[in-house]
Homo-oligomer: 175 residues x 2
DNA sequence: ACCAACTTTCAATAAGTTATGAAACTTTAT
DNA sequence: ATAAAGTTTCATAACTTATTGAAAGTTGGT
């Protein structure tokens, strides 16, 4: 298999993975394309690599930049802009995890808290309400646990786990 | 706010949360409805609560049963079937996490492994290939780490975390 | 100020996904 | 064996989301 074929396969894989986790397929493919490329690409290169329109490319590039997963680069003497991906996968995972926590988990917990307060104001407080409240409390606790776990893992593992891998790869290259 | 309104709000919330994580909104709402109910519901009750068709209800009930998130119940002397949700939230989280790991993470890792093997067969093995390979290796490592972390958490936290909460709620009810 | 190169926006449309409902099927009771 | 009650399937409709492409906007050079 040619290197270009392998990259193509990876781009497709990344698109599928993204889709499975509720991310726009094209955005994930675009991210994959830049992850697989060791140099920055222009919008036109991206358009032709993924056969997508300029508008589509632009929209997804913007979103990826908002997420902090890709960066824009200008080159002296050139008008067009180049895009490249954050290659530190741990950084990528962190950014995605933190952003989704902020955007999705926290609002959910807020709503649960609101509902719990409302339940306590109810006067007809029978077994049905108690059971319902338990479900809400449990989901809230689970959410909190996930949040804490995320912070713990991100803090602890960052250095312990990924740096050795980095140096392992460096060793392969260097000698 | 009435209890029914609160449940309605929760069902909507659960639908939204599900959607954000790549799950069919109706399936998530249906799951929420059963989570919020302390008794089992019939297909007709579900249909009218969510104003969905019989076919839609049936389809999503089937999927939820495949995931092990709800159960079917038959009652003596009645033809129709009743559905109720797994209420142990930790169990729910476990089932979802394990199933998604199996369905999504593992196939991804397999594909990555395949791509890595192919890369090593390549003869023109320049810096571009080395960079690409590093990305694949890192993603693979991250995947493995997530898999291990999941197992660790599921094993360790199950008893330590959720049981105390259960007893806390019981105490409130009992005295 | 103007042009040329390039980027961004957005209304229209295509593509993809989910829901419907009627028909087919299954099960149980008589 | 038949009917009644309930469940499942599936072709198509309804809806949602993603994509296009052309127009508007921006930027930098002369």
């Amino acid at each position: 298999m040619q290197p270009s074929e392998l990259k193509e396969k990876f781009v497709q894989l990344w698109g599928t993975v993204g889709m499975e986790w509720g991310i726009n397929k094209t955005m994930a493919q675009l991210h994959g394309l830049l992850l697989a490329s060791d140099h920055a690409l222009t919008t036109d290169q991206i358009m032709s690599a993924l056969t997508i329109s300029r508008g589509n490319a632009n929209m997804n590039l913007r979103d990826l930049m908002i997420w902090g997963l890709i960066y824009r680069e200008s080159r002296p003497g050139e008008r067009k802009e180049y895009f490249y991906a954050e290659k530190d996968i741990w950084e990528v995972a962190q950014k995605i995890a933190r952003e989704r926590t902020k955007r999705e988990l926290h609002p959910m917990m807020k709503t649960l808290e609101h509902l719990l307060k409302e339940i306590d104001n109810e006067t007809p407080f029978g077994p049905e309400e108690i059971a319902f409240k338990k479900v809400l409390v449990d989901i809230h606790s689970l959410g909190k646990k996930c949040d804490q776990l995320l912070e713990t893992v991100l803090k602890f593992e960052q250095n312990r786990f990924f740096k050795p891998i980095l140096s392992l790869i460096r060793n392969k290259n260097n000698g």
